[in-house]
């Protein structure tokens, strides 16, 4: 009986969300005088139209999945880790360090060092947020936002200052890394297979930790009711710190991917909004690790599909943002409606 109830609710949720999203996006497109069908065709299928598009899709999905997996940890502990953008940025900055300090080391060793450094940078940044939350009672949302600004400031300072190209001060970014330091890609594609592999392993680890360990149970207890959990002997502050720290590690690795596999150098906007997009995704799936992968792929495919919009249809790529955003809004609304109904019953 309970199984059936859950199922019908899920279908309702799904249908309501999809219908609401499509209705809203279509309305906006119609008002702008754009053919919705043509836009949807590109948004839904554009990312799969050629091998190079699929490669771009995976290279976007990899850091996105890393961030989303990290955020699943923090959401499980009841934290809204808005500082993820800064954690990714710091990861990217730290990943640059070994590449700049010891460029003559063998590339595989440098990659390992860069990933480790990235993880360190991201986790240090997350640890600062955690410390502010635990010891100074600063809400993690505000602490994270502050740390984001700081991270952006550091990136800008480095790009315009000590790491600028010789004789140049431009936000174009640092001199590109020598080709041999780029993560190896499949021939003729911009796909570095290591990136999605890392992301998938991260997802696997997060899923295992949350679903199959005592630690995961205590994290979720912290998220559901910290006072009760504390009373039951869960070290809730430690759990908050650990999940933020873990999220920082994953975001930092995502930052290292942006450096080694995507931009091949530091640019001020190295995060490109990936952390915020991951937040949307985790909101949408309510931090269930099992749903992360499909939704990450879906959102990444919207983003890659939308690249063609201006050229093909004279439509701004931002329409993919409208679609992603309204998807989350309607999902939250559908849930809200159901909760109200359940309370009434």
């Amino acid at each position: 009986m309970q199984k059936m109830r859950f199922s019908s609710l899920a279908v309702q949720n799904f249908l309501l969300t999809t219908a609401g999203t499509l209705f809203f996006t279509t309305l906006i497109l119609l008002i702008s005088g754009i053919s919705p069908l043509a836009v949807y065709q590109l948004l839904f299928f554009g990312a799969f139209s050629s091998p190079s598009k699929i490669a771009d899709l995976l290279m976007l999905a990899a850091p996105l999945l890393l961030c989303a997996a990290g955020l699943t940890l923090t959401f499980a502990a009841g934290l809204y880790n808005l500082g993820i953008e800064g954690q990714l940025t710091l990861g990217a900055i730290f990943a640059m360090l070994p590449l700049r300090l010891w460029p003559d080391l063998p590339p595989p060793l440098l990659w390992v060092l860069a990933f480790l450094a990235g993880a360190l940078g991201g986790s240090l940044w997350a640890a600062s947020t955690a410390s502010l939350k635990i010891y100074a009672q600063v809400n993690e949302i505000f602490a994270g936002l502050g740390m984001n600004f700081l991270a952006m400031g550091i990136a800008l300072y480095l790009v315009f200052g000590p790491w600028q190209r010789i004789g140049t001060a431009s936000m174009s970014g640092t001199e590109p890394l020598p080709n041999e330091l780029w993560l190896p890609t499949l021939p003729n594609l911009r796909l570095a297979p290591l990136a999605p592999l890392l992301a998938l392993s991260a997802l696997g680890i997060v899923w295992f930790l949350l679903a199959h360990t005592k630690w995961g149970i205590s994290v979720r207890a912290t998220g559901l009711n910290p006072i009760a959990a504390e009373n039951l002997g869960v070290p809730t502050n430690l759990r908050l710190f650990e999940t933020l720290f873990g999220c920082g590690i994953l975001a930092g690795i995502a930052g290292a991917i942006q450096i080694l596999g995507v931009f091949h150098g530091l640019i001020p906007n190295v995060s490109s909004g990936i952390g915020l997009l991951a937040l949307l995704i985790v909101l949408l799936v309510q931090a269930q690790p099992t749903w992360l992968l499909p939704i990450v792929l879906l959102f990444a495919s919207f983003a890659i599909g939308s690249v063609q919009l201006p050229l093909a249809l004279n439509v701004d790529s931002n329409i993919s943002g409208v679609l992603q955003g309204s998807l989350v809004l309607f999902a939250l609304m559908a849930r809200g409606i159901q909760e109200r109904r359940q309370k009434k019953h």
């Binding site: 976007l60 952006m152 315009f160 004789g167 936000m171 590109p176 906007n269 701004d316 109904r341």
Partner: protein
């Protein structure tokens, strides 16, 4: 174990997922639909009255914005118009990446209009483009990705218009060896980094900037000229130095009042070709700082027209401030009352020449630096660089400016002649030494006498 009982969902996560999937597979499809119906009803009854209004007003607002904005809309107006070719499929397609919007009254619009001009002049060509290719408008999207799309649309020749695209264009050219590339303002040909299918071009804007500097020095009353700089590199230092040389020459030799004090020439760099909030300095703010510090002429080096707009505002508020925009021939139109003139790029004739050569199969990638047509600086069918005097330039100053332009057009006159020192006191050109092209192209510092950062 008590704990686990309370907090764990009744089913493991994987089972829940299977459930959800099974549902989608229409296991019990009727019931949910019935429930959905009641749910939608409920939505109309309870939910829509409350939130519907908010949504509706948002949508109406958006609609109002998009319709009222349409002439200068921020949406990229991307077209793929066919030229007079009867069969568009056989047309020679060329693509362009623009760093800013194609209606920026500056750098990007100059390229856009040059390409439209060429498309109209060379039969059987088709122009496609993507504008606003920059990390603020299209975060995370790389030059290579956009080039892929242009090539997919049939482009056989691709022009990338920003120094910001240098690395991306090189990578794209390597990835598409069958497509020809032209990187504007780049130097991959000079540094031997260019693959075989990549050429560079630039206009000799230093002359336009000398004329701009001269106009500024002739018109200033406070003796303080400001330069609103974009980012710092060889190109922008070259242009600031050229403006300074022009200004200094006219200040010392062409002013009727023969000023004894030195001309104050200051530059502030914003960090990119246009404003990116939170990343660059805001050119509007910088322009006002100039005005408050007593500069009464602002020469713009950025792609957009903030200097002109702010000069106009200050003038309306009772001050007398002038500006010299940059890049695009019609830039003065935004505020003619304070515009002393505009040095501009005119890419049309060069694109016509290039497309004709491409169609004939005779185009060879190289490094080209296009001189103005000195016979008539403003002949739009021939010149690569021009200067259109603006309505605000006083008549007697206009006459002197023409005198200066005539001197520049002459064979024996040059301003990049020693003795000239760099800001740090090192020698740029010894007495009597004339700078060759490379010494002008690769400008490692600002010149002595300019206030502002060299790097």
């Amino acid at each position: 174990m008590h704990l686990a009982h309370h907090v764990l969902p009744t089913q493991p996560l994987s089972a829940r997922m299977t459930n959800a999937l099974a549902l989608v597979a229409l296991a019990d499809s009727v019931k949910p639909f019935l429930k959905l119906e009641s749910c939608v009803k409920r939505m109309f009854r309870s939910f829509l009255p409350k939130f519907g209004l908010v949504w509706l007003s948002t949508i109406l607002l958006l609609a109002a914005c998009s319709s009222s904005q349409s002439p200068t809309s921020n949406l990229p107006t991307v077209s793929s118009t066919t030229a007079s070719s009867p069969n568009p499929d056989s047309a020679y397609t060329f693509g362009m990446l623009l760093v800013g919007p194609n209606n920026d009254f500056g750098w990007s619009q100059a390229h856009y209009e040059g390409a439209k001009y060429a498309e109209a002049k060379v039969p059987g060509t088709k122009f496609i483009f993507v504008d606003k290719v920059n990390p603020a408008d299209r975060p995370g999207i790389k030059v290579e990705q956009i080039v892929d799309d242009l090539v997919n649309k049939g482009a056989k020749f691709i022009i990338s218009n920003s120094d910001d695209f240098k690395d991306g264009t090189r990578e794209a050219a390597k990835a598409h060896p069958d497509v020809l590339f032209l990187h504007v303002s780049g130097d991959d040909q000079l540094t031997a980094k260019a693959p075989k299918n990549l050429g560079n071009v630039m206009g000799k804007m230093e002359y336009g900037k000398m004329i701009a500097g001269c106009a500024a020095a002739l018109q200033t009353k406070t003796g303080k000229v400001a330069y609103l700089g974009p980012l710092i590199n060889d190109e922008t230092r070259r242009l600031v130095n050229a403006a300074f040389l022009g200004a200094n020459y006219c200040w010392q030799n062409l002013r009727a009042d023969k000023p004894s004090e030195k001309l104050d020439f200051s530059v502030t760099w914003i960090g990119f070709w246009f404003n990116i909030p939170g990343t660059t300095l805001d050119p509007t703010v910088v322009a006002n700082e100039f005005i408050n510090a007593g500069h009464d002429v602002i020469i713009s080096g950025v792609d957009t027209t903030e200097a002109l707009v702010e000069a106009n505002k200050a003038t309306k508020a009772g001050k007398e401030i002038f500006a010299i925009p940059y890049d695009f021939k019609d830039a003065c139109k935004q505020a003619p009352a304070v515009c002393l003139g505009v040095p501009y790029f005119n890419w049309g004739p060069y694109y016509v020449k290039t497309l004709t050569a491409l169609k004939a199969g005779s185009w060879k990638p190289s490094w080209e630096w296009l001189a103005p047509d000195w016979k008539n600086l403003n002949d739009l069918d021939t010149t690569a660089v021009g200067f259109l005097p603006g309505p605000a330039l006083a008549a007697e100053n206009k006459a002197k400016l023409d005198e200066f332009i005539a001197k520049l057009a002459g064979k024996d006159f040059d301003l990049f002649v020693g003795p000239l020192n760099f800001q740090d006191g090192t020698v740029y050109l010894k007495a009597g030494e004339k700078a060759d092209e490379k010494k002008i192209w690769y400008m490692s510092q600002l010149l002595e006498g300019i206030k502002g950062k060299s790097k």
